[in-house]
């Protein structure tokens, strides 16, 4: 808290960083946001699993998704999480010690850029997968499995694209050596999007029998 000043004179109205339990504002905010997101995806996953148990024949449908696209994308996404961790590591994490502001920002920008490149490859491959599957006749018309497939992966892809946009903003910040703490926020979000994919991949791409 600042000293007993008169009215806040900052016209852009940035509120200073405050913490509780050593967790800063922006991290609390991101965790609350992800709490809401967990409820969204949790609801969808619960619904899908219930339908999946009711429809054992969906195992055959899952065989028609392009498993190699899903697998490669899983690898891409996991790698992008690694580059994201490295970005955070050099900007505000353990690797930042002894580095100058310029070094931290430039290393961070490099790894954010790598993360975004991997993210873009993920989306491109996803689009290839969609077109391929759609033209092969696997549209939502065929069965509700495909409705769920496009809905769940589509919603995930939208989250990922939102992450790409956020990353780009942070990249610009880093180039201007500003708001370095934002790397952590986008990092947490990026890992969350990655985590969602870890659930989607086996459910939608692998031919798991439900035992029913």
């Amino acid at each position: 808290m600042s000293s007993s000043s008169i009215l806040n004179t900052n016209p852009t109205h940035e509120v200073e960083q405050t913490t509780c339990l050593n967790v800063p504002n922006h991290r609390w905010g991101m965790w609350w946001f992800l709490g809401g997101e967990v409820a969204v995806f949790g609801g969808i996953l619960a619904v899908f699993i219930l339908f999946r148990l009711r429809n054992p024949e969906w195992a055959q449908e899952a065989a028609h998704t392009l498993t190699w696209v899903g697998s490669v994308n899983t690898v891409i996404l996991l790698t992008s999480s690694l580059t994201m961790i490295l970005a955070h590591h050099f900007v505000t994490g353990g690797g930042a010690q002894g580095l100058t502001l310029e070094q931290r920002a430039s290393k961070g920008a490099l790894f954010i850029l790598l993360t975004n490149l991997l993210g873009i490859s993920f989306v491109s491959l996803k689009i290839y997968g969609y077109t391929h599957e759609w033209h092969a006749g696997y549209t939502p018309e065929r069965s509700l499995f495909w409705g769920f497939y496009y809905f769940m992966t589509g919603l995930h892809a939208l989250h990922l694209i939102a992450g790409l946009v956020a990353n780009s903003v942070v990249w610009v910040n880093l180039m201007k050596k500003r708001n370095l703490q934002r790397v952590e926020s986008v990092g947490i979000y990026w890992h969350f999007v990655d985590l969602v994919w870890i659930y989607l991949f086996p459910l939608l791409y692998l031919e798991v029998s439900s035992g029913g």
Binding site: H13, N25, F151
Partner: protein
Amino acid sequence: MSKKQSFLTKYIFSQDHKVVGVQYMILGLLMALVGGYLAYVFRYQLAYPNQSIPGYGVLEADKYNSAVTMHGTIMVFWVAMPILLSGFGNYLLPLMVGAKDMAFPKLNMLSFWVFFVSALTLISSFFVPEGAVGGGWTTYPPLMANPGFTGVGWGAPLWILAVALEFASMLMSGINFLTTTITMRAKGMTFFRMPLFVWMANVASLIFMFSVGPLIAGALMLLADQLFAVGFFLPEKGGDPLLFQHLFWFFGHPEVYVLLLPALGIVAEIITVFSRKSIFGYKMIIYSVLVAGVLSFLVWAHHQFVSGIDPRIAAPFGLTTILISVPFAITMFAYIASLWGGQVRFSTAMLFAISMIVEFLLGGVTGILNGATASDIYMHDTYFVVAHFHYTLFPIVFLTSFAGIYFWFPKIFGRFMNETWGKIHFWITAISANFVFLPLFFVGIAGNHRRIYDPSLFEHLKDFQYLHVISTIGLFVLIGAQVPFILNFFISMFKGKKATENPWEANTLEWQAPSPPGHGNFITDPVVHRWPYDYSLENTEKDWCPQTEAI
């Protein structure tokens, strides 16, 4: 020093939590006019079927459905939520915890403007071809999943879009509330020194945050059904209509508490100030509310007892529903006990706060008849349910908001509202509301089901038409009673008696800031030494003791 702010950045695109709060309140009150007008239109139809309605014309059956749907939607999502949670929450929460502003002021401004766009989206659906949607505020598919069933093309997707935007805006508010409360409390403001309103707003935000997710998912799936006929909720495509009901009510019932809790918070602040008494059992109330918050996630299927779910799972949901009455019984008893040994001053704000308790009690107890599975078979989807939830929501939304507005007006605008006109407003509002909603219990018990545009078409309801007439006349009076309020509000803003910093002699921190508080709120950073309910301490000269006062 401070750059001079233009009107635009000060009052329109402001990041100041106080301005955002007032924006939410005013937009909420404007939407209440729309919701009230819709109520007038369909209540007129119910009392005088098929006659031309002054100010509307003849109401056709499908437009009747649109009117009740939009009335429910607007009153819950565009009146109750923005006024109670976002309006009072944004204005009061940072002040009450002693912060300069919200944790994320830009996010706060964004949340209001997303809300503004959502309101425009909803209103625009009245003007698209085929008009607003008429599938009920619960938007059950298949009726809402296929435009062929309602005959409404654009209205349905616009409704979903508007609601989704509104949810996004409320989520942003919730993130701000929780983070601000956690990280930005003034020195000495421990969690158990926070005013009850802060507790209630936070628990409400938490409940909202964790219950709305599945409905956001459900709404997107419904949108996919409407636009692309995917069939998540269409049985002919392998979908399940009941799934949507589960997703809806998993959110829908907790939502009731999202509205109730901030209202209880407002009432707690007001009754303690005007009875010069401590709240009774502060921690007991907080723990009750936390228990109720958890339980609220386990009651949803009581809206679906006769919906075709397996009748064997009704019993556990009936039990949880009946159990959730206990924490609220504790809360209501504690509020009543707070008056015990007090010195009650009947200001307009206090009158409204008390009337909230008086009328809410009837709404509360009648809920048992809907929660008990056997009686719900009969009561479900009748006017009994309508009367029940209006007896809870009218006090929660309107009586409480009025109480809060009369109470905090001097803080917000630095001037008092006129008390004489306030009391006229109070008596007519509080009494006429009973004429509107009490008859609905009786027609409901007599077997009048909901959302039918002309009850007199049914043989068993012909004799009860007079009750609908009483209700409608009550509504005319109720709406008329708001004219003095609106005039009082705007005239007092500029011409009211000037208020000092702490006109009601209250303890909470917002009364230590100037009236109205400037940008940044407090002249000096407050340091908190005590909880907020030290009224009428023994051996002190004055009968209040602000939180900033050292022992």
